[in-house]
Subunit: 450 residues, 2 copies
């Protein structure tokens, strides 16, 4: 029995229909906000990819063996050294993309002359990582990114939050949008003189609800944070109330940190423009994703009715294209986690019927004359936009009905001698079992009403 | 300046919009005919791919170097032999898919228990081939396949031709659909006792218009076909007239070949059901694509108004899944050549305006107060389904208008103090230059009418 590489998946028709519903919804909303789609090749030069994801990332890149004589340029000594890591770039010039961000940065630099800045692009493509496969983690998976580069305006952050809100509203998934700002975190670190402890601090604060204030403070002490700094952190650890109240507290706490205040200003601006969202948006100082990467706002989305990790995330980063020799371009972006959203919609059973239905009508095949009659009707039905098919072989009725059931086809058309003589069709509703003798136009109307 | 591997492409927003139009049109028609989409992983086990495309094909497979210690299991002697071809499967367990047919066969066998046969699937995904790149030939390109497996009924052939006719009708491209049948070609070979000369014969016949009958006969003789066989071929070489006339001639010529007559019967059946196509369909005996592969009907589509190779093709094959241990499953399929169709639609300028337009309306940004006003209007405009955006920075008007021009945005909204006071918006039509002072609802109506 043939198989596929571990960590990869086949997508069956029903899974595809659901995934297309997710991608199309995201795509439509991105387009509604003026984002334009691009695609980049699956293979990038390894020189584009290496060194962009840390040492661990370099190992997780899938590398493509050079065509032809891949031993060329490698000495016998090198071969016998069997140094897999260092010889990889000699055997392989190309690798599969690891995310959509680095190819996007490469794209922007390569096409800088054609682009109208700010450039608002979205990209929905698979990426590949040689991670150890495990539940919910795959070696091939789709990313759905939108980014704006070439504008520092916070209106971009505002619109990205509106996009998130619109997408999850369309899905019918209740979420909480959490925002934070790297500058606030830097301000906190500056204030207590512990720049390298920011992750420890956010991790400890995040546990407040679970372990209580005393234990949080103990953890901070254990992480090597001095007693006076822990004292200064108290208002932050116990930060609560509305976003406005939190901002007001932070403004007071960070009054001596220029960068911290800038982070408060930015958060205040963004939140002030987002008063009419359908979903709650919350300032959450424990949000510290991608800290080495993001330089301004940080976003994360949690589903309210399903226990699952973050289903969307993003933030502002400076100097995306600096690695490719084009400095000074700021960007901000979001990425929907398609696989997790798929799980959430499955668990909450939120797929619209129309999105996952395929064929609406099957003509049962009773023989050549009947099939000819059906072909005529089929043409009219399809012209009305209804997905329909005829069972290609005139085999036993039971087999044909089984086919309709397996494919979840809601209507079946039965045409025998009587129907042909009356120029009609017997339409069977597969759910109710009801049968009706109708004309083709009546049939079209009945199926379209459903 | 970074670059991408030779033979690969970035797709810019406009190219993406055009490609999406092509893919969506094909997808919609496939679905209308009851085909269901699947996707398979980019990487397949090399054992699935090797030996399926001939020796040359094995060389053209992109192979993925094993993760971790890829020297494992290879002896020093083997390394020093530098035998690239034979050691490839030791360095690499996986490869990138080369077409959609072999992965589909693998899918059918692997998922046999879940499938309702006949299985009508379509698949639109990229494939990779390490071919020497040249004009119009890429190392990464999309295929758009639809196949029916598990049914020998000729109604499948009929429906696939209807799909082709519908797709090109929707594109507005005039085409000629050509069909042939492997069984007719086998009958001809049988009749003249020259089974191995079928390709020579079809190639020679194909030149009739260009070089004339005498030269065709000379070529046949040069190919080693005996004089009496060439005499028997005369009615076939000079075959002309309507499909009915051709079929009648062939039925006479092939009267002693059982397989040949079966091919005539099949072609007659298929053509008899296709009397109401928008495009001409023509029996063409010179059509010999994929001869080693196809066992029944063979299809090819030529554009009538553009000089370009075949833009769609396909045929019936027996035993698709036999290579994976599941014999006896017949299939028939077609494949749209997306890259060539892209070129044809470009040359004939056939993209509908709505398909390639992205943002419809840009709000010019004159400052914070104006932007706040615009954000409100933006929300209403987007709720009406109009793709719209605001320039995120309040920079010089000229720069913002340049942005609108580069992005081909047809409408621009101008909001200054006067507009805000009047609770209106100045709408500028970028094509005519006309400016109108309107309410948001009027604006929505004007843009939607366009």
């Amino acid at each position: 029995m043939p198989s596929i590489p571990k960590g990869t998946r086949d997508f069956s028709p029903i899974e595809m229909a659901k995934r297309n519903y997710i991608f199309n919804t995201i795509r439509e909303v991105y387009a509604l906000y003026g984002f334009q789609q691009i695609e980049t090749p699956a293979m990038e030069n390894l020189s584009t990819l290496m060194g962009k994801y840390g040492e661990e990332g370099d190992k997780l890149l899938f590398k493509i063996q050079n065509s032809g004589d891949y031993f060329r340029g490698i000495t016998d000594e090198e071969l016998l050294s069997r140094d897999a890591l260092h010889l990889a770039p000699k055997f392989c010039e190309k690798g599969l993309r690891y995310d959509l961000t680095v190819p996007f940065a490469r794209y922007v630099v390569q096409h800088r002359e054609e682009l109208a800045l700010p450039f608002k692009r979205y990209q929905i493509q698979p990426v590949w990582r040689a991670d150890r496969p495990q539940k919910g983690r795959y070696r091939e998976f789709y990313q759905c990114d939108a980014d704006v580069v070439g504008s520092e305006s916070l209106l971009n952050e505002v619109e990205l939050m509106q996009i998130i809100d619109t997408v999850f509203t369309r899905f019918g998934v209740r979420v909480c949008i959490k925002i934070n700002n790297r500058k606030i975190l830097s301000g906190i670190a500056e204030m207590i003189g512990q720049a390298d402890k920011i992750v420890d601090i956010t991790v400890a604060i995040d546990k407040l609800d679970k372990i209580g204030l005393d234990n949080v403070n103990a953890e901070l002490a254990k992480a090597g944070i001095p007693e006076d700094a822990i004292q200064k952190l108290q208002p932050i650890i116990q930060l609560s109330g509305s976003n406005a109240e939190k901002l007001s507290t932070m403004r007071e706490v960070l009054k001596d940190s220029e960068i911290g205040l800038k982070g408060v200003d930015e958060s205040e601006f963004i939140l002030s423009k987002l008063t009419s969202l359908n979903n709650p948006i919350e300032l959450d100082l424990t949000l510290a994703r991608g800290l080495n990467y993001y330089t301004g706002a940080i976003f994360e989305v949690k589903a309210l009715d399903v226990q699952i990790g973050s289903i969307t995330g993003g933030g502002r980063y400076d100097n995306l294209t600096g690695i490719f020799g084009m400095p000074g371009l700021s960007g901000v972006g979001i990425s929907f986690g398609a696989d997790r959203i798929f799980d959430v919609l499955n668990q909450l059973d939120l797929y619209p019927k129309s999105a996952v239905s395929t064929t609406r009508l099957l003509f049962v095949n009773f023989g050549q004359a009947e099939a000819d009659y059906c072909l005529q009707a089929l043409q009219q039905v399809r012209q009305a936009g209804i997905s329909a098919e005829i069972y290609p072989d005139s085999v036993k009725m039971k087999k044909q009905m089984n086919y309709a059931n397996t494919k979840h086809i809601p209507f079946v058309a039965l045409v025998g001698e009587n129907e042909m003589a009356a120029q009609k069709i017997t339409l069977k509703n597969m759910e109710t079992g009801e049968q009706t003798l109708v004309t083709v136009s009546e049939l079209i109307q009945m199926i379209n009403v459903e």
